[in-house]
């Protein structure tokens, strides 16, 4: 039992670490790699939870995560970078150091929220939940502090990873939720891909600051 705990915590920690390094990365290629690592660890965590809880559903979740998030998504993101010949450096809206300080604060917030509000539950779930919430918040922070569209998409995907982490940590969570979440991500990816094509057609760039200028002038 204690091995279950420590291994689950370890994997959660690695996912959190990946989310945190995503925040500090300035290069697009490295961000995609980090996201891939995060998704891989997530699928491993899903398999491990499936083994520990004896749930066949979780194996399926792990498989979906492995195929869609750890393989298809990073590959196609790299494809996009190549096809569009994107700037490989990510433009940030605030200094990286500041966003990392904010990230640490957000982890504090997550711990502050989860630990006192769920005193009755077993410690595994509680700490897992805190980690998952931190990953979600860090992904959101990344979406707000990055200017490039692709970096924002990676932030969104990282947020979604946090959600799945929370879902697999909960014993008795219905499988449907995870499946729909995965589908949602795929759909979002498709939509965003189309969106990127459109932006690219109009502005020859995926930098959203051009779009912001148009918005300002238009109104």
């Amino acid at each position: 039992m204690s091995l279950t705990f420590s291994l689950a915590h370890l994997m959660g920690g690695v996912i959190l670490l990946a989310a945190f390094s995503l925040l500090s990365q300035r290069r697009l290629a490295a961000m995609i790699t980090l996201y891939q690592v995060q998704a891989l660890v997530l699928s491993a965590a899903a398999f491990w939870q499936g083994y520990a809880q004896g749930e066949a559903n979780l194996y399926l979740t792990g498989l979906i995560t492995l195929i869609i998030k750890a393989l298809i998504l990073p590959l196609s993101l790299r494809e996009i970078v190549l096809r569009f010949n994107l700037m490989r450096a990510v433009e940030t809206a605030m200094p990286v150091a500041v966003s990392m300080v904010l990230g640490v604060a957000l982890i504090g917030v997550a711990v502050l929220v989860v630990l006192p509000t769920t005193p009755g539950n077993i410690s595994l779930t509680r700490e897992d939940l805190a980690i998952a919430l931190s990953v979600v918040l860090l992904g959101l922070l990344m979406m707000t502090t990055r200017r490039g569209a692709l970096a924002q998409i990676i932030g969104f995907l990282s947020t979604e990873n946090g959600l799945v982490l929370a879902a697999i940590g909960m014993p008795g969570m219905p499988f449907v939720a995870e499946f729909s979440v995965a589908l949602l991500v795929l759909l979002a990816f498709l939509v965003v891909g189309v969106f990127l094509f459109r932006i690219r057609e109009h502005f020859d760039s995926l930098d959203l600051s051009g779009l912001e200028q148009i918005e300002r002038r238009g109104r």
Binding site: A110, L112, L137, M143, T144, L211, E215
Partner: protein, 546 residues
């Protein structure tokens, strides 16, 4: 009809609502006769007022009140757009105060909200500066009903809530609040009425004064009721209700008359009128009667209520601690000054507008108005006669209202009897005439001619230039120099400088902020939602941990 599902609309006819219906009916008829009979909005406005007066439930009251506000807004919009915008702002403010207040339990907060909401609608200072702008804007019949009726409806809400619904929690300082707001409006209204040169604006300013006077009477009664002084309660209530009744007769008459003058001459500015007494004798006679009420002259309809309110203030000055005594003495002084200013305003209205020689061709060629409008004015004028001559009988008729509002109140007899006074005056006049006739000096004597207020006639106009007569501005100049310039810096109402202007600045800031939010980029909006989420989580964590 309409109403809350399951509850419907509840109305009642108790003495108070009957009194206010009686007070509203003649002016509605007169307003309709003055040319509003075919306007559906006018009747909607009237219906709203009736509903607000007879309402027995909070919902009905708000429905009627807001119907009244909305319909009158449309009517003001017919006249002019700018005051209509100001007016609708005030209407929204008063709704925002009234709606929560009516559903609050009886408490001081509810009373303050009621006074703010209904007081803004009644034109009590410091929320009165919209009234001299909005009331003159619509056609005369509507102005009449707004001035004579709408502010009464607002005051009736204060009466009903302050004396009946909230009486469980009443405090003496509630009355103090009403007195303070009332005396400020009395003073500022009378002063502005004295200084204005436009007839309808002058009348609207005078409406502010009379709304303040009614509020002073109500405040005195409310304070006395909370302190258990039965006599003073009756005195203040009688004064306030009688003042409301009298004002509901003469102010609509004056407004309709001003509208007819504008119709006949093309202007309502006193500086372009004059000599109307000769060309429109019947209208001028009715206006004179109403102006005597506005000025609270003895033997006029406005004297008895002001007499009662001053009496109540005198009686209140004899009670309470040293601060209350000094305060009520100061109140008396301000009321006296304002009565003098109101008299000045009435003299200016009649003297400059209706006496002397016409200052323009249009004024010289004015004709008596249509029969219908004159009939409406005559109705109001006729109803004023009993109020002027037998006020004591009318007070006796109003006794049930006073008892309903203050069950323990006594009956304060009116120490003023116009009929014997009239008889005495007649005896003195006849005797003086007789003495003059019998013992007067016969024969003629040459003396320099009284120029009727004219300046020295220029040589090319041997019979005098009408433009050299004193104008309304000139008549008001001494008052303007003595107190006007100090109280009204630059001619602007202090309420505009200290209430409306800061509100306008706050509004501008709010609009800029909203515009900034609207122009936010996608990333900024994301950041906004994100920080809201984090704030929420932080609150949850801190509260849950503590």
């Amino acid at each position: 009809m309409f109403g809350l599902p399951g509850a419907g609309m509840q109305v009642r006819l108790d003495p108070l609502s009957v009194l206010f219906l009686v007070l509203l009916a003649p002016q509605m008829v007169a307003g309709a006769l003055a040319g509003e009979a075919r306007s559906p909005t006018y009747w909607l406005f009237a219906l709203g007022m009736v509903l607000a007066v007879v309402a027995a439930s909070a919902f009905t009251l708000i429905f009627g009140f807001e119907l009244m506000s909305a319909a009158s807004w449309l009517l003001v919009l017919k006249g002019d757009q700018k005051p209509a915008t100001l007016y609708v702002g005030i209407a929204i403010f008063s709704a925002a105060c009234l709606v929560p207040a009516l559903f609050l339990p009886a408490s001081s907060l509810a009373f303050v909200l009621i006074v703010l909401g209904a007081g803004a609608k009644a034109g009590l200072a410091p929320l009165h500066s919209w009234l001299p702008k909005a009331h003159p804007a619509p056609p005369a019949g509507v102005s009449a009903l707004m001035s004579g009726g709408m502010i009464k409806v607002a005051l009736s809400v204060i009466i009903r809530e302050g004396f009946m619904t909230l009486s469980a929690a009443q405090q003496p300082w509630w009355g103090g609040v009403l007195i303070a707001a009332g005396v400020a409006s009395v003073f500022i209204g009378a002063l502005r009425a004295m200084l204005e040169t436009e007839m309808k604006v002058l009348l609207a300013c005078s409406t502010v004064e009379h709304a303040g006077l009614i509020a002073v009477g109500l405040g005195l009664a409310l304070r006395a009721k909370a302190m258990g002084d039965a006599n003073l309660t009756a005195l203040g209530l009688e004064g306030a209700l009688l003042c409301a009744l009298a004002h509901a007769l003469y102010k609509p008459l004056l407004f309709i008359g001003a509208g007819e003058v504008k119709h006949a001459t093309g202007t309502a500015s006193l500086d372009w009128l004059g000599g109307l007494m000769r060309s429109m004798p019947r209208l001028s006679g009715l206006m004179l009667l109403a102006a005597s009420g506005m000025a609270a002259l003895p033997l006029g309809p406005g004297f008895a209520p002001e007499f009662l309110i001053l009496h109540a203030a005198l009686a209140a000055a004899g009670t309470g601690g040293i601060v209350a005594r000094i305060g009520f003495s100061a109140l008396l002084a301000v009321l006296g000054l304002s009565a003098a200013l109101a008299l000045g305003a009435a003299v200016k209205l009649m003297g400059v507008g209706f006496l002397g020689r016409p200052r323009s061709l249009q004024a010289a060629a004015a004709e008596e108005p249509r029969g219908l409008a004159l009939a409406g004015m005559a109705l109001l004028g006729g109803l004023m006669v009993p109020l002027a001559l037998v006020p004591a009988e009318i007070l006796r008729l109003m006794a049930p209202v006073v008892r309903e509002l203050a069950p323990n109140a006594g009956y304060a007899p009116l120490g003023y009897a116009p009929l014997p006074l009239l008889g005495l005056g007649l005896v003195v006049a006849v005797a003086a005439g007789f003495v003059l006739h019998r013992f007067g000096v016969r024969g003629t004597r040459a003396a320099p001619g009284w120029m009727c207020g004219f300046g020295q006639p220029p040589v090319w106009l041997p019979f005098g230039d009408p433009a050299t007569q004193p104008t309304a501005t000139g008549l008001a100049e001494p008052v303007a120099r003595a107190i006007g310039r100090g109280v009204l810096p630059g001619g602007a109402d202090p309420a505009e400088l200290f209430v409306l202007a800061p509100l306008y600045r706050v509004h501008l800031k709010g609009v800029r902020l909203a515009e900034k939010l609207r122009r936010a980029t996608i990333r900024e909006r994301l950041a906004f939602i994100f920080s809201a989420l984090v704030l929420f989580l932080l609150t949850l964590g801190l509260l849950g941990g503590g």
